[in-house]
């Protein structure tokens, strides 16, 4: 078996890519910190997540080299995100949809205190 195949198969990424990525990541970190000092109400989470996703994209594509990688590595990694999303979506569909049919089933109560009987004056909850 040929042990030494010196074919030039390793693509060497120019250092400026790495430096630019580092600087972008640091700038994005500063942005997300600064933005967090202001309150955008319901938009706080989406904004923070958007910045995090951009940062993650940079790390994955440049530092981890997925940009220059074989197709299957990409499919595998994107696949993991798809399945994670399925997990999130389906388990959340349960939690989010619970109140709609029997509103009482979405009520959390404290089990440390004895179960409060609902009977007295209990109305129908549909």
């Amino acid at each position: 078996m040929s042990n030494h195949d010196h074919s030039d198969h390793h693509f060497i990424v120019p250092a400026r890519y790495y430096v630019a990525t580092l600087l972008s990541l640091l700038v994005l970190t500063i942005i997300t910190v600064v933005v967090a000092q202001y309150n955008f109400g319901g938009w706080n989470l989406p904004i923070a997540l958007l910045v995090a996703v951009i940062k993650a994209g940079l790390v994955i594509n440049i530092f981890m080299g997925l940009r220059w990688n074989r197709t299957f590595d990409r499919i595998a990694f994107l696949g993991s995100l798809v399945f994670l999303f399925i997990f999130f979506l389906f388990s959340f569909s349960d939690e989010l949809l619970r109140p709609y049919r029997n509103p009482i089933e979405a009520v959390h109560h404290d089990i440390k205190s004895p179960v409060k009987p609902l009977v007295k004056g209990a109305e129908h909850h549909e």
């Binding site: 390793h10 993991s80 994670l84």
Partner: protein
């Protein structure tokens, strides 16, 4: 370290055709391992989402307790260490053994720095009793705040364990690089540990805003 000493020729394992075959296989294996890691941490993020949905108020309260400055510092440290990691690999690709070692050492110092900051954060929380339910003794906290800290310690703790493992792997790389194992045609372990280390960075990129910034 004597950098004049020639590198050691890598011998391709008997079941691979050539070193490219070996490298590609190893990298595919590593990516698939990272896939499992995505699901591993991802499940915790799903748990996070559930708690956030059920008890939004504890996240507001907790975000005043955590120090975003410490978190931001750690973010910068990890990002920088990711940078030094790719530079270490790049140096190996260019047969610059000394530089490889220097970059690896910088990465390791960053990793230790991260853990030191974490140590101070943890001790402050422990001191004030912000702990998971069984040990939660903080005063004036809302009823379910312990849930936040249960999750906080689980997620950052698991991430911290990954950092520790990373440090071990970097030490191993340093030892091997000293023996001259890595050169332009063979740097597979560097690449693998690099991918792992970037993943650790990636997890922190999400942990930081979700725990420290968004209240």
């Amino acid at each position: 370290m004597k950098i004049t000493e020639p590198h050691k020729e890598h011998i391709v394992a008997h079941h691979f055709a050539n070193s490219k075959h070996e490298f590609d296989s190893a990298r595919l294996g590593m990516w698939i391992f990272l896939v499992t890691e995505v699901l591993f941490f991802g499940a915790l993020f799903v748990a996070y989402a559930f708690l956030r949905w059920s008890y939004p108020e504890i996240f507001v309260e907790a975000h005043h307790i955590l120090s975003w400055k410490m978190g931001a510092l750690n973010t910068a440290i990890l990002i920088f260490s990711s940078f030094t990691m790719v530079m270490a690999i790049r140096s190996a690709q260019l047969n610059q053994r000394l530089k490889t070692s220097l970059y690896l050492i910088t990465t390791m110092i960053c990793a230790f720095g991260f853990l030191v900051v974490k140590f101070f954060e943890y001790s402050a929380k422990i001191h004030h009793g912000y702990l998971p339910a069984k040990y939660f003794v903080a005063h004036g906290a809302s009823e379910y705040l312990h849930l936040f800290f249960g999750l906080y310690f689980t997620m950052t703790g698991l991430h911290g364990i990954h950092v520790l493992v990373g440090i071990g792997l970097i030490i191993w790389l340093l030892l091997r690089n000293r023996k001259g194992h890595f050169y332009s045609n063979y740097y597979t372990p560097l690449e693998m540990v690099g991918l792992y280390w970037h993943f650790v960075d990636l997890v922190w990129i999400f942990l930081f805003p979700l725990f420290y910034l968004v209240g």
